[in-house]
Every structure is written in structure tokens, then in C-alpha cells.
Amino acid sequence: MEKDSNSAAPGWNPSSLMQSNELHCAPQQLPNSYFSANWDNSMDQSDPFESALSSMVSSPAASNAVGATAFPGGEGGGDMIREVIGRLGSICNSGDISSLSYNNSTNNSCYSTPLNSSPPTKLNLSMVDPQMRGNLPVPAPSSHPTLAPFAADPGFVERAARFSSFGNFGGGLNGQFNLNEAELAYRSMLKLDSGKLSRASSNQSLRSQMGGVQESSIKSSSPQDGNAIPDKKFSRFSRSSTPENGELGDSREGSSVSEQIPAGDLSVKAENASNSRKRKTVPRGKAKETSSSPSVKNGKAVTEEQPNAKRSKTDEASGNEKETQKSNKEPNGGSKATKDSSEPVEPPKDYIHVRARRGQATDSHSLAERVRREKISERMKFLQDLVPGCNKVTGKAVMLDEIINYVQSLQRQVEFLSMKLSTVNPRMDLNMEALLSKEILQSQGALQNALYQLDSAVPVSFPFGYQPQQLPALHSNGISNETETQFPVTLNASLTQNSTMQSPAFDRFGGANLQAPQFFEDDLQSMIQMGFGQIEQQSLHGSGASAQMKVEH
């Protein structure tokens, strides 16, 4: 179907939107295209979208990746993520709509039936998504019954998680993404083609991992997989790698989706989404999901089911923390394969989803603290790169000391330099300003180093006025430097006005020059050099100083 075309994400979005609902489709079109564009490049996370929405998926992934990569950079990434997430919601909706209307993608076969059964509902849900972002929990609950079919898919959960994580990644959307939105996004994703989506979005490595894990997990206990994989996906979410979702989703969806159609799944999915968000408390979703999947598949899952069921109940009572707990517990209690595959991939260092490692506390508070610690340590590492000579420093305390010292020294340097600048009164005409700016921006490292050595020198009176005496002589020599013609004139004009010392400064100037080579503009230096023809061209200082010295004497 056209929707499935990878490149047609923007194209089909509008069409699908139009078909589905007039409510929010239109405004979403633009974001969708933007979203898809962003996602294409970046991450595998966009797997879910890549399905029939493959284009959609790819774009979300790209945006996701962009957001993820931009994270260290700061605000930019966050903004992008928010945008992406917003768009994502719309895309999900459109995806839903498209899938509903078209019922195509082969991958959706398992879902197509339920989809067909309630297309209008889904449409409504998808429509609601964009709105939900800001506000409303109401539509989501209503959609639960219809969305039940979709909720079952674990890939759906991961998608929802991804969505939420995207939002969290930006750091600003937590409030916006409530359960409903995530759920809806999930559902739309699910409908579209959970299998495809998960496949597409996942990273290569993760995919392989997931595949392996999937196989083993599926054989061992499908419910576990269902639970574990979404968890893994959640953890990877911010990291921009949701390969697991893709792979697992595909394999499992066929079997599990059809089975997991209870209405509760939907809430479970929502809960998963909220897990990743870690802000909103959607206890029901995760708990139910975990419980539902195990219930569907037995085997090892049985043991997991019970804890899951219990957890689900507790989740409903508790909230986010429980969700993360559950998600964290699942890898712990899940199959070794899943665990191993997840272990190499460290939980993302964002505050969207934290997965407790084996043997670590799964308390919600400790999880939150761990996330904070990881964030802080990440920032400290970044700072370590910035501060010169701090590669070997380890430990936060020492590093902080270094940082504080460095900032203090920089501030002191600024103060010192401003004091120096305040002692002189250089006349700066417009032309000089431009010339100076050019000069400054073309500064070379050697000059600065030399200057730093001079900082300790006793500041002598500014010999700026000294120059004009030399300039007329130089100028009359017929120097043909094109820039110098302007500069000397200006300099002369400005300098003659200057009342700074003239002849008395000669000796001092010479002395100063010897100790502190004068870094004059290239123009002037070239002038001097040409005028006297004795000074070799140098990048700023030595020649000027020597030339002046000669002139002086």
C-alpha cells in the first residue's frame, strides 16, 4: 500500500490523515514529514514506523537519533525531540488511520482483523493522540476496548516507550505525554505493523541480539520475552536503538498478539510507555502487559506471570516507580538470554527509562537516583574533556575542584585583561574597529602564547601614540600594501590625536618592544617591513618590534 512506501511518509500521511479524520490530521501533516525526515537518518528506534509506515518509522528514528545525539549538546536536541515526539503522535495517528483504511501490510495481518473491526474507534483514538499530548486522559480510556487488539503486541509497547522516551529525551515533554497519548501511539503503531516496525527500527547489532535473544527467549518462555523485550526496548529507547523491539516484535507478535488481546493489554502498553517516560504514572499498562504476555505463553513465563501479575496490581497502586521496577525486575528475572543481550547495552543515561541491573536495587527512589547519578557522571566526563589537563583526574570531588579552579582562573584572566584594556584609551575609529576585529579573529596561537608571557610584565605607558611618527616615514616610502594605505591614514589620524608620549616613549618603547613584541596589525607590520626592507615578514610581532626599534634609533 502506499503507506508502506518508505519514502512516502509525508505523502501518505496527509492522505491518511485526510481519510481518517478532519480533527487533527491536517496540522500533523507537516510535523509528520519533518518527523519522518528526521527519523530516517538516525535510529533504528523508528522500526515500528518503518513498517507500512516504514517511511514514518524511519523518520521518527532519524529524529530520535538526532535528539539523542543532540542530547549532549543540550537544548537543541531537546527541542528537536519534543518536535519529533509531537510529530510522532501525529504520525502514529496517521499510521493508524492509514492502516485502518488500507488494512494492508502483510505484517499487520494478525492485527488486521481486529483493526478492521474497529477502524472508526481507532481513528478516533489516533485523532485524539495529538490532542492528548497536552491534555487528555479521557479519550484514551475510552479507546481501551477497541485498542485491546493492539495492546497485546509487545512491539507496540516498545513503540509507546519509544515515544515517551523521545519526549523525555527532550526533557520537556514529560508532562505532555500522558498515558493516552502513548497508548494511542502504541496502538497506531501496532496496527500499522508491529512486526515491521520493530524490525525496521532496531539497530543492526541490537537486532541481532534481539533475534538471538528472541529465539531463545521465545523458546524458553514467550511471556518473558514479551515482558523483557519491551523493557529492553525501553531502556534502549533513549539510546536510539530499539532493535529488540523490531525483532522480537516480529517473531512474537504473530503468536502473542492474537492471544494478548485483552483490554488490559492496552493499559499495559500504556504503562510501558509511561515506564519509559518515568514521569507519568501508568501503573496499569506495564503490569498488565507483563501479566498478559505471560498468561498467554506459559513455560518459564509462569513464574514471571505471577510476579508480573502481582506487580501489575502493585503497579496500579504505585505508579511509575513500580513500572520501572517491574521493567527492571523483568530483565533480572527474565531469561538469561535476554538478560545477557541487555547487559551489554547499558541502560540509557537519560531519565526516561532505567533498567536495574542484576543485583541492584530496584527501588523507585534508587532508580531515580541512579539515573541522576548517571546523568551527572556523564556531564562530569564531558567537563573533563573541556578542562585542559584533566584527563587523569578521576573522581567527582577532584574533578569538581579542577573545574572550579579553572573557571576561577578564567574569570580572573578576564578581569585582568579588562583592567589592562581600561588603562589604555585607544582611539578606535570605525575602520579600525573592523580592522581590529579582523586582526583579532585571525590571531594565531603563537601570538597569544607570547602575550601570556608578557602579562607579568609591568605595564608601561601605552606607546600607541608612538606609531604615527613612524608611519609618515613609512608611508612616504611608497609602500604598496593595499591595506596599509587605509590603515596608516586612519592610524595617523587617530594617533595624532593621541596625546600619549612621543619621543620620551622611544626608549621605553624600545625596551618594551624588546620584552613585549608589539603585535601590530599585519598591515602596519608589512608597511614597516616594506618601508625599511629589513624586517622579514612575520606574523605579527617580531618584525614590528624590530622595525620600530630601528626607527627609533
Partner: protein, 170 residues
């Protein structure tokens, strides 16, 4: 005589270029009306002005993207608006009140949630004092702001040394 068209650098939009332009403009403004400062008071005043110009132009070139630049701009604007004394004693300005409130909340939040993860020996507090606007930030955002602030400070120092060189100040 029109050398305005001189290219500034490989990247005319870089932080360094913007800062240089702003600083030079401010310096020319400061130096326009004054003769060579003789009295120490005058020199001190000019020193303050130049320092404010340096930080102000740096914050302007960063814009409103960073919390520290916003805080710095706000502080400098207050400084120029109410005089130098105002910066020392902001008193009961609404912003100060709101900031104090934020500080209290932040500290409370920190105490309850953060459990001294990055406590050290009061280093984080020192850092808060150093970075403009750092009093009301959470620790992790404080570190992020510190990184950007450090980068801008280094640029500032480089450009100012360059200016000093150009002026041949020994």
C-alpha cells in the same frame, strides 16, 4: 576607508566572531568620550564598564539559549539600569524574591532527593556561585551550563588577549 567588508573569520557566525564584534563595539563606545584615564577612580570605573561589556557581549552572542547567559544579561541590565550598587544589593526585587524562592525549593529538593550525590566539600555550591544563574539550577543542569560557560570564558579570554595584543599593551 571602508573596511567594513573585511571578513571576520572562517565562520562569521561563530561565537568568537560575534563576541569580538560586540566587544569591539562596546569598547569603542566606552572609549569614545573619555580621554586617557588619569585618576584611579576613573580607571576603576572604566574597568568595570569594560568587564561588563565583555560579559555582556559574550552573553549577547550566546543569546537566550543558555541559562547562564540569560542570568548574566539580566544582571548586567540591572547593573546599568540601577547603577553599580544595584548589582551588589539587589534587595527586594521581585526577581530576587523569586530567585530566592527557587533557591530554597531547589535546596529542599536537593536535600530530599539528591542525597548528596555530588556533594564533595561544598564544591557544587562554589560552582553555583561562579556560574551566573547557577543558584537556581539543578546539579546536572548546572554541570551542563558550566561546560558551556567554560567554553565561552575561554573564548572571551582569547579574544581579549588578542585585543590587548592589537593595542600593543605591554
Amino acid at each position: 576607508m571602508n573596511s567594513r567588508s573585511l571578513l571576520l573569520s572562517p565562520n562569521p557566525n561563530s561565537l568568537k566572531s560575534r563576541f569580538t564584534k560586540g566587544l569591539l563595539r562596546a569598547l569603542s563606545r566606552i572609549n569614545k568620550h573619555r580621554q586617557q584615564p588619569r585618576s584611579s577612580r576613573e580607571i576603576r570605573k572604566r574597568h568595570r564598564l569594560i568587564k561588563a561589556a565583555a560579559y555582556g557581549s559574550m552573553a549577547s552572542s550566546v543569546g537566550n539559549r543558555r541559562a547562564w547567559s540569560r542570568a548574566l544579561l539580566w544582571k548586567i541590565r540591572n547593573q546599568t539600569r540601577r547603577g553599580y550598587a544595584a548589582t551588589r544589593n539587589i534587595g527586594s526585587s521581585t526577581r530576587q524574591l523569586s530567585m530566592k524562592k527557587r533557591i530554597c525549593d531547589l535546596q529542599k529538593g536537593n536535600n530530599s532527593k539528591n542525597r548528596v550525590e555530588v556533594g564533595g566539600l561544598g564544591q557544587v555550591d562554589k560552582l553555583r556561585r561562579l556560574v551566573p544563574g547557577g543558584q537556581v539550577m539543578h546539579t546536572c543542569s548546572l554541570l551542563e551550563e558550566t561546560a558551556h560557560y567554560m567554553k565561552c570564558l575561554a573564548t572571551q579570554v582569547k579574544v581579549m588577549t588578542r585585543i590587548v595584543e592589537v593595542y600593543n599593551i605591554p
